[in-house]
Amino acid sequence: MSFEDAEKAKGYWNENLKLVIKLLAIWAFVSFGCGVLLVDILNQFSFMGFKLGFWFAQQGSIYVFLILIFVYVKKSNTLDKKYGVDE
C-alpha cells in the first residue's frame, strides 16, 4: 500500500472519480447533446459560417475531446503528487 492510510486512499479515489465524472459529463454533453439531441435547436444559430449543431457534430466535439484529455492529464498528475502516489 503506497498511501499513508486507508483514509488517504479513499480520498484520492473519490477526488479522481469526481474529476472523471465531471469531464465525462462534458464529453457526453458536446457529443450526444450538442452533436445529436440538441442539433436541431443549435442549427438555428450560425457559427463561423456553420450551423452550430452541425459544427459540433463534425468539428467542435473533436476539439472538446482533445481539451478534455489534456485537462485530465494535467489534473490527475497534480492529484497524484498531492497524495504522493506519482512516479
Binding site: F50, F65, D80
Partner: protein, 572 residues
C-alpha cells in the same frame, strides 16, 4: 517522369524505409515483441497508435461516405474520436498500472478465471480478424488503381511487406514503423485537402475553409457560404439537406455510442498503451493519439464538403444545366476508365447530370472523393504518387497492429496461459511469430477472395467490443465487488444479444432490415450500445446473487487505482 513511374518510386522508397526501420528495431524478447519493452515515448506512441487506428477505410473511404451522406456521417467522425476520451479517463492508466501484456490477461486475472480469459481471447481474435480482412483488400485496391497491377498481385506484395516487419519486429518494430507510416499518411492526406481548400475558399486550413465563403471564377469572394451552397445543391437535386441527413435521431445516437464504446473496447487499441514507461505517459499518450487522429478527422468533413461541391459543379455546371461530356474535366475521364465513375446519357443530350431523381445519369463511387482529390485540385503527378503511398501506409500500419493482437492472443493468452504454461520465452516468441504468419495468410486469403459481408462484419466487431470487453474492463477497475460470475454472465449476455441482433438483420433476414422492424428504432450498427447496457445490468444482478470476490483480487483492484510502482513492470 509519368505518374506511373513516380508512384513506383515513392511507394518503393516508403517500403524500403519501413523494412529498414523494422530491421533496426527488431524484437529480441517476448516483452519487446508484445509491448515494445514498455519503453516507447508517449508522443511517438501516440503517433504510432494513430497510424494503427486509421485504416485503409479511414484514409480512402470515410471522406467519401461523409460527402455522400452529410450530417449522417457525423456518427463516424464523433464515434471514432470520442472513444479516446473513454480510453484516457476510464481505462489506460489503470491497465498500464496492471502492467501485463494483453486485454485477456487483465480479464483473466481480475476475474480469477480461465473461462473469463477464454471469452476475452475469443472476442479479441474475432474482432481482429474481421478488421484485417478489410485491410488487405485495401492494399490490393490501392495497388491496382495506382500501379495497374492485378488486385491479387497487390495483396501478395502487401502480405510480404507486412509479414517481414510484423513477424520480425513485433510490437517494437511495428511501433517505429508506424511512426513513419503516420507521417507518410498524414502528409498525403493533407496536401490535396489544403490545396482544394485554397482553390475553393482561399483558406489554408481546411477546417476554416469549410465554414467560409466560396470563391468565384475570378478568385473573389462570391458571398455564398460553402455550407449554404451545399444545402442548396442537395435540396435542388433531390438529396436530403447536407447539414441534416436522413437518419432518425435515436439511431444516430446509438451508432455514435456503439462506435465510441466499441473503440474503447478494441484490443488492438488498448494494448498500445501498455508500451509506454509510466502511468502518466499512458494518459498523455492517449491525448497525443487523439491529437494526431484529429488532424485527419477534422479535415475529413471539410474535404468531404469541398469535393461534394466540386464534383456536383464539375458534372452539372454552374447553372445546373449539365456539362457536355466532351468538355468534362480530365479527372472525370480518368476515373471513368477505372469504372468508378459511370455516365449513361439517358436523355441523349450529350450532357452529364447528377441528381437523386430519375434525371440522374451518373454513377459515382464514394472512394473517388479522396482518390481523385489531387486531380480535382489540379495538383502535379507527385501528389498522386503520394496518395498511393498514403493509402498503403494506412492499410499496412493497421494490418500490422491487428496481426500483433492475433499472434499475442494465440501465443500468450491461448498457449502460455492456457494450454502449455511451461513453455520458455524463446518458444513462446517462436509461436507468436508462427501465429503472425498464419494470420497474414488468412488475411491474404480474405484479401484475394473478399467476403461480401466485410461491412456487416465490421459492425459486429464494434458491437462486440462495446458489449463485451468494454463493460468487463471498466467494471474490473471501478468496482471492487464485481465477481467472475457477474462478469462472465454480463459478457455472454451482451455478446449473444448483440450478435443475434446483427446476424438476424444482416444475414438471416436482411429484407427486414429497416427502421420499422428495429428494436427502439436502433439499427444493427448501433445495437452494441444496447448490448453494453444489457451487459452492465446482467453483471450487476448476477454479482449480487453470487459469492464475493477473494481478498487478493480486492487488493489488486486497489493497487491499480494509483500510479506509483508501475515502473516495475511485471516480467513473466
Amino acid at each position: 517522369m509519368d505518374v506511373q513511374t513516380l508512384t513506383y518510386l515513392v511507394v518503393g522508397v516508403t517500403f524500403a524505409m519501413y523494412i529498414g526501420i523494422a530491421i533496426k528495431t527488431r524484437a529480441g524478447s517476448t516483452k519487446e515483441f508484445y509491448v515494445a519493452g514498455g519503453g516507447v515515448p508517449p508522443i511517438l506512441n501516440g503517433m504510432a497508435t494513430a497510424a494503427d487506428w486509421m485504416s485503409a477505410a479511414s484514409f480512402i473511404s470515410l471522406a467519401g461516405i461523409v460527402s455522400f451522406v452529410g450530417y449522417d456521417g457525423s456518427v463516424y467522425i464523433m464515434g471514432w474520436t470520442g472513444g479516446y476520451v473513454l480510453l484516457a479517463l476510464l481505462m489506460v492508466p489503470y491497465l498500464r498500472k496492471f502492467g501485463k501484456f494483453t486485454v485477456p490477461d487483465f480479464i483473466g486475472d481480475r476475474y480469477y478465471s480461465q473461462s473469463a480469459r477464454t471469452v476475452a481471447v475469443i472476442c479479441a481474435i474475432f474482432i481482429s480478424f474481421t478488421y484485417i480482412a478489410g485491410q488487405m483488400r485495401g492494399v490490393g485496391v490501392v495497388f491496382s488503381r495506382f500501379l495497374e497491377v492485378e488486385v491479387d498481385t497487390g495483396v501478395y506484395i502487401g502480405m510480404c511487406v507486412v509479414f517481414f516487419y510484423a513477424v520480425l519486429g513485433g510490437m517494437k518494430g511495428i511501433t517505429y514503423t508506424q511512426v513513419a507510416q503516420y507521417c507518410v499518411m498524414i502528409f498525403a492526406f493533407m496536401v490535396p485537402a489544403v490545396f482544394l481548400s485554397i482553390m475553393m475558399t482561399g483558406h489554408i486550413f481546411p477546417q476554416l475553409g469549410f465554414g467560409a465563403e466560396l470563391l468565384d471564377a475570378t478568385g473573389n469572394s462570391s458571398g455564398v457560404y460553402l455550407m449554404d451552397k451545399l444545402d442548396g445543391l442537395s435540396t435542388d437535386l433531390g438529396f436530403s439537406m447536407y447539414t441534416q441527413g436522413s437518419k432518425d435521431m435515436i439511431d444516430v445516437l446509438f451508432i455514435t455510442g456503439a462506435l465510441m464504446f466499441g473503440t474503447a473496447g478494441l484490443p488492438h487499441v488498448i494494448v498500445r498503451f501498455f508500451t509506454v514507461p509510466r502511468v502518466k505517459d499512458a494518459r498523455s499518450s492517449a491525448g497525443w493519439t487523439l491529437l494526431f487522429i484529429a488532424i485527419m478527422y477534422t479535415t475529413i468533413p471539410a474535404l468531404a464538403s469541398f469535393s461534394r461541391v466540386n464534383m456536383i459543379q464539375s458534372i452539372n455546371g454552374p447553372e445546373s444545366q449539365g456539362v457536355p461530356h466532351a468538355e468534362a474535366p480530365m479527372w472525370i475521364e480518368n476515373w471513368e476508365k477505372t469504372g468508378l465513375i459511370k455516365w449513361e446519357d439517358k436523355n441523349n443530350d450529350g450532357r452529364m447530370f447528377y441528381s437523386n431523381t430519375e434525371t440522374n445519369e451518373m454513377n459515382v463511387d464514394r472512394d473517388i472523393i479522396v482518390l481523385a482529390t489531387p486531380e480535382m485540385a489540379n495538383l502535379p503527378a507527385w501528389v498522386i504518387a503520394l496518395m498511393a503511398a498514403g493509402g498503403l501506409a494506412a492499410a499496412l500500419s493497421t494490418s500490422a497492429g491487428l496481426l500483433l493482437v492475433i499472434s499475442t492472443s494465440v501465443s500468450h493468452d491461448l498457449l502460455k496461459k492456457n494450454l502449455m504454461p511451461n513453455i520458455s520465452d524463446k518458444k513462446e516468441l517462436m509461436y507468436a511469430r508462427m501465429a503472425s504468419g498464419a494470420g497474414i495468410i488468412m488475411a491474404g486469403y480474405f484479401g484475394i477472395n473478399p467476403p461480401g459481408f466485410v461491412a456487416a462484419v465490421v459492425a459486429i466487431a464494434f458491437g462486440l467490443a462495446a458489449s463485451s470487453l468494454f463493460p468487463a474492463i471498466t467494471m474490473g477497475i471501478f468496482s471492487r465487488k464485481m465477481n467472475k460470475e457477474g462478469a462472465i454472465a454480463g459478457m455472454l449476455a451482451g455478446l449473444s444479444f448483440t450478435t443475434a441482433y446483427i446476424v438476424y438483420f444482416k444475414f438471416v433476414n436482411p429484407a427486414a432490415n429497416m427502421s420499422e422492424n428495429w428494436l427502439f428504432g436502433v439499427s444493427p450498427e448501433g445495437i452494441g450500445m444496447l448490448g453494453m447496457v444489457i451487459n452492465f445490468v446482467v453483471a450487476i444482478i448476477v454479482c449480487k446473487m453470487t459469492t464475493p470476490i477473494p481478498q487478493e483480487v480486492v487488493d489488486m483492484v486497489e493497487s491499480i487505482r494509483f500510479p506509483k510502482g508501475a515502473g516495475e513492470a511485471h516480467d513473466h
